[in-house]
């Protein structure tokens, strides 16, 4: 008998749904923060006498498969111009899909040391109960201002939209590195708002922040049920365990540091899909 998961022993529960906070000014940035999503998974493995369970690991894999991330800036007057910062398209963001770990190249989520996985020890007696606990609270920021190189005038953050969509997978890895995906669920966080400084000469003065795009524009969503097995969406399944999958924090940080930008000498309309 080989070591295997006991039938119907795997479960995954979302214990806390996330919420998105209203965008807020912190220093010279407009911040987009959320409260934690929390989830827990478990399973039991069994084997025959003499089977060695050492190295069998239950953990979580999180993939991000959609990113919307743009900011529109405009000057105080029409002749001060406008800018569009796009962080979700190449070259700023080469691909939409990425794997979400702190350590670049890691596969299992690693932000809850000691609790985010269970690794069976040699000699442990079957059946072996394994748990993996998860939390996450994505966030981002846009600078409040940007100098328009065409007009050389300060442009102010006027609107932004951010959407991060994730799939979180409970997965069992054997010592040979083969994964068995047991459960998964989807979740996302959305922000969209318009901004206006109340005092263009003093950015620390309160900003007028108007949330936009209706009920779905500023919301966190979690799938209604946890699904069995592996996700089958080809947009991100190829990177689930691929060693060279892009890292989400690194990819997003690069795009925030070096966004694609378009500028105009007037208050222009930009296509946010580009």
């Amino acid at each position: 008998m080989v070591i295997s998961v006991i039938a119907h022993s795997a479960s995954m529960t979302i214990t806390q749904k996330p919420h998105v906070n209203a965008p807020a000014v912190v220093g010279l940035s407009m911040t987009f923060t959320s409260t934690q999503l929390r989830a827990g998974g478990n399973c039991q493995i069994t084997g025959a006498a003499g089977d060695n369970p050492a190295g069998w690991t239950l953990g979580l894999i999180q993939l991000q498969w959609i990113e919307t991330n743009w900011g529109y800036y405009r000057g105080r007057a029409n002749t001060d111009g406008s800018c569009m910062l796009q962080r979700a398209r190449p070259p700023a963001r080469p691909t939409q899909g990425c794997r979400d770990t702190l350590a670049v190249g890691a596969i299992f989520v690693d932000n809850n040391p000691g609790l985010d996985r269970t690794t069976a020890a040699a000699g442990a007696r079957f059946p072996i109960g394994m748990t993996a606990n998860f939390f996450d609270a994505p966030s981002d920021q846009f600078p409040l201002t940007r100098v328009n190189s065409l007009t050389r005038q300060t442009n102010f953050l006027h609107e932004a939209q951010l959407e991060f969509h994730f799939c979180t997978v409970l997965s069992l890895r054997n010592p040979a590195g083969v994964f068995q995906h047991l459960k998964h669920f989807y979740w996302n966080v959305h922000w969209q708002a318009r901004f206006e400084p109340s005092n263009f000469g003093n950015l620390a003065a309160p900003w007028v922040i108007t949330r936009a795009a209706g009920a779905l524009g500023n919301k966190a969503n979690v799938s209604h049920h946890v699904a069995d097995g592996a996700p089958n969406d080809r947009r991100f399944t190829p990177i689930m365990t691929a060693p060279a999958a892009p890292n989400c924090n690194a990819t997003a940080t690069h795009a925030a540091t070096a966004p694609n930008f378009r500028e105009s000498r007037v208050w222009d309309n930009f296509d946010v899909r580009r």
Binding site: V26, G27, L28, S29, T31, T33, Q36, Q62, Q64, C98, D100, T101, L102, A103, V109, D110, N111, N112, P113, G114, F135, D136, A137, P138, S139, D140, Q141, F142, P143, L144, F164, F166, C248, N249, A252, T253, A255, A256, T257
Partner: protein, 149 residues
């Protein structure tokens, strides 16, 4: 008389050199020290010697099993205020100057200033220390250990 004067000069020189040694010994053994502030996450980098170029990235290490291991904390830097643009790779600390960075929040990714984080969360409770490195990577300076509740 002349011999006495010469002996007195030698004695004075000896005393002076001894004083110099004492002064040198009174100096901190490390040219740079990382001192902890009163509240969690606060720290100060003090330069006791000549101007030094430090790597702007501050590492956080956690004590695990009696050894110091690098914690997966990112975005912590030698910056005294938050700015939308990332800090330069290196920060110059002038002779005998000190720098009081924005404190560590205790989180892995949003560790200091508003950041771009897809995976984040608080680092677990434990014993930690800050580590600052020269820009060349040649020397590292660690803070005293502190507890994260």
């Amino acid at each position: 008389m002349g011999q006495f004067r010469r002996q007195a000069l030698v004695a004075a020189a000896f005393l002076a050199s001894g004083f110099a040694i004492l002064v040198a010994r009174a100096q901190p053994s490390s040219p740079v020290s990382v001192e902890l502030g009163a509240r969690f996450g606060e720290f100060v980098v003090v330069n006791h010697g000549s101007a030094v170029l430090l790597n702007s990235t501050v590492s956080v290490e956690q004590k695990a099993g009696g050894r110091w291991e690098k914690a997966l904390v990112s975005n912590l830097a030698l910056r005294e205020a938050c700015a939308p643009s990332p800090p330069p790779k290196c920060t110059k600390l002038e002779r005998t100057a000190s720098l009081r960075p924005v404190p560590w929040t205790g989180s892995f990714c949003s560790s200091q200033c508003p950041s771009t984080c897809r995976l984040d969360g608080p680092a677990p409770a434990g014993t930690y220390r800050f580590v600052v490195t020269t820009c060349s990577g040649e020397h590292s300076y660690a803070s005293p250990p502190f507890q994260k509740p």
